[in-house]
Amino acid sequence: MEKLKLFISLSWRNLWRNYRRTLITFSSIGVGVWAMIVLASLMEAWAMSTFNASINTLTGHAQIHAEKYLQDPNIEYRIDMPDERQTDLLNSDTIKAWSVRVRVPAIVQSERDNAPLMLVGINPQAENNLSFIPNSITKGAYFNDVKSPGILLGKKLAKRLRTDLNKRVVILSQGPNGDIKERGFRVNGIYEVEQEDTESLYAFISIKNAQSMLKIDSDISEISFVLHDLNELDNFLARYKELNKLKNIKQDIKSWAELEPLTLALLDMTSGTIALLTVIMFILIAFGLVNTLLMAVYERTREFGLLQALGMKPTYILYMILIESTFLMGIGVIVGTLLSLSTIVYFSNGLDLGALAEGSTMFGAGRIMYPEINWIQSSIIAIFVWVMGIITSLYPAWRASREVPVETINKAY
């Protein structure tokens, strides 16, 4: 214990004998660690933005449909409103928000043009906290209740149809018997979202209107919900499936990962890329570190010889160099980590991609990134660089401990 204290104070002082070198080494390690953690958090923010956009665009954390509906989203494949026990389960504390929808392909006609779209009948209140719809109306008004008249169109689609607020459009869609149902709607509101494709893909009407237009009574196409804690998802889905099995109800229950395999692939790829870049950055840092420590060892060969002649064991010299590198790496890593954390905090209110946003939305992410401190990931990067650095310095330390005392004391510069 006494010896450890001695080593620590020796190493600490050695570090500051050549403060310029130490500072440059710190900077090199610090910049490397800083860049890694900040980049990792930006990449995560980007991936999360894609994830949230896809969850918000009606997907939710999971959806329930009739079997076959996902392969062929047709009016033929409907499910009943959730029964008493299903409703109880959906109202449990695990669920943050849930809603039922009617979703069928349709054609919209304005006075000037026509376009294909997905017609979605929604329960306006239940969509709060569940999807983008309630918060995206930029012109006109949202629906008040399940029977509200009117239709909500995306800005891009409205522009293409050259229609506007309070004008009429006609919706054509196939009814359950293969006949074409047709109904006129007044444009009640225009919504805007970051993904322009979404704007021309969906039009919303209230659910009762959709059901009466399509003559499907109280049938629905899908149930969508989000949980408070995403980790509970598998558990919840298992309970729902069990309930269905008990009552012999056949439904297609799918999590977001199954509904949006692209988003899942993107999230996986992001963590893979972060790991790869950390390793590459470390190799760069390691070159500098080994070089610095080797040089520090070489210019002190006389000193090591003297220490050994005075009775210090070679292993102690090894320990001393290792402790020096622990300090050297440690301070660099800590400074780099602190810098990166403050950078992330600085940007945490939103990093606007500005002119590049269009590119970002094309890949399904938003225009503003919200980087967050990921303690686990930051610590893994920091500790990885630190520990690998100490391991790398074994070589210079081993070389230092192998000097022969008499030869080195006499060594001329």
Partner: protein, 408 residues
């Protein structure tokens, strides 16, 4: 003499020289490989996206891009097509007419994007003719042929198979009703959900007859061998378009998000590259600075023997340059070999196939090396190390011979 001194000094500490140049080599190899990989993926992303349907450029009625309605069409003057074909790098000129209409089978009806195409040249500007999964593609442009090819999802939704009839209902160019009865001759599956779900192609003349278009079309699609050589011909293409009072759109106008996406990717990778250059510069600065400090006594002797500080500085510069040249040569060789190797075998991403096909990328990436990607990274590394060498050199000018000789 200084050159020789510098050369010998470099090898007094072979381990340090080798480590330092390895650090340079590793970084520059990485900075050659990564930009080449990005370059390759951009080129293939652009190529693949454009080959889906858009072609490398399109000639349209001005305003059609923003307002793709059936009335915004153009008649083709006799000389326009030959004028376009005479432009270098323009290999294919294909005409299209496009409208939205309702398709109905016995059981179902769905909206679809109906495209009237020239059957022979469509294969050169779109992937649809080459991805027929059942039946065949259109054989003629003739108005007598009642043929249609459907996207696979559309066909499934309509429950229509090859040989069956579908009815088309839409609005003609003059506002009249456009109605037709067509036979499904082929079903295509491109893997792009928007195309498979929405698109159907019919012979151009049949389209013009059904939609009362006379001889009008909506778009003239141009294509060539590859996008980079084709891009050089955009100027003459625009000139021809202006001559006929038409609009010429290049790939960036056809796919505006694509260029922004590329810029976004470049600007997210830049901080990483800058950080790497900084890390390697710091570590080289350290190594040069130490090689100066540990030779303080030696420099003191040289100074007292009458060597000028500027000569010693020159020596340090040359030592650093030797280090840089050595490292960069290794790095460029390594980076070149690595990039060329992967340019041949490709980098395969088995797991990410879906994400790539969604954005029109193949499931393998091929880095593309050019002079820019080969030299930009290494030269920035070399330059920043040279700049940082100023600090150790400044120290030499501050040295006084006598205290320097006494330094430990």
């Amino acid at each position: 003499m200084i050159l020789e001194l510098a050369w010998r000094n470099s090898w007094r500490q072979p381990r340090r020289t080798i480590l330092s140049s390895l650090a340079i080599a590793f970084t520059s190899a990485f900075l050659i490989f990564m930009p080449s990989l990005q370059n390759g993926s951009y080129i293939s992303m652009v190529e693949n996206t454009l080959r889906l349907f858009d072609g490398y450029a399109e000639i349209q009625q001005p305003g059609y891009r923003d307002n793709p309605e059936i009335r915004n069409s153009l008649t083709i003057p006799d000389s326009l097509i030959s004028d376009l074909k005479n432009i270098q790098h323009v290999d294919t000129v294909s005409q299209r007419a496009i409208s939205f209409a309702l398709l109905a089978s016995d059981q179902r009806s769905f909206g679809a994007q109906i495209v009237g195409v020239q059957s022979d040249s469509e294969a050169l500007v779109s992937i649809i003719p080459n991805n027929i999964k059942q039946g065949r593609f259109l054989l003629t442009d003739n108005s007598n042929t009642d043929e249609i090819v459907l996207g696979s999802v559309l066909a499934k939704n309509l429950k229509a198979s090859v040989g069956e009839k579908v009815t088309l209902l839409g609005n003609g160019r003059n506002g009249s009703l456009a109605a037709d009865s067509l036979t499904v001759v082929g079903i295509f599956s491109t893997g792009i959900s928007a195309m498979d779900r929405l698109m159907a192609e019919i012979p151009l003349q049949r389209f013009q007859q059904t939609f009362s278009m006379n001889q009008h079309v909506h778009s003239i699609v141009l294509s060539g061998k590859d996008i980079s050589s084709f891009q050089q011909s955009m100027k003459p293409i625009r000139d021809v378009a202006i001559k006929y009072k038409l609009a010429a759109l290049d790939w960036q106008q056809l796919q505006p998000g694509l260029m922004k996406g590329i810029l976004l990717d470049i600007s997210t990778s830049l901080p990483l590259y800058i950080a790497m250059v900084l890390v390697v510069t710091f570590s080289l600065l350290n190594s040069v600075l130490m090689s100066v400090l540990e030779r303080t006594r030696e420099f003191g002797v040289l100074l007292s023997l009458g060597m000028r500080p500027s000569n010693i500085a020159k020596m340090i510069w040359i030592e650093t340059i030797i280090l840089i040249i050595f490292g960069l040569l290794m790095g460029i060789a390594l980076g070149y070999a690595l990039t060329e190797y992967y340019a041949h075998v490709g980098i395969h991403f088995e797991e990410a196939q879906e994400i790539f096909s969604e954005y029109g990328l193949p499931n393998a990436m091929y880095p593309q090396l050019n002079w820019f990607t080969l030299l930009i990274g290494p030269s920035i590394i070399g330059l920043s190390i040279l700049v940082s060498t100023i600090f150790p050199v400044v120290r030499i000018y501050k040295m006084q011979p006598v205290p320097a000789m006494r330094a430990v």
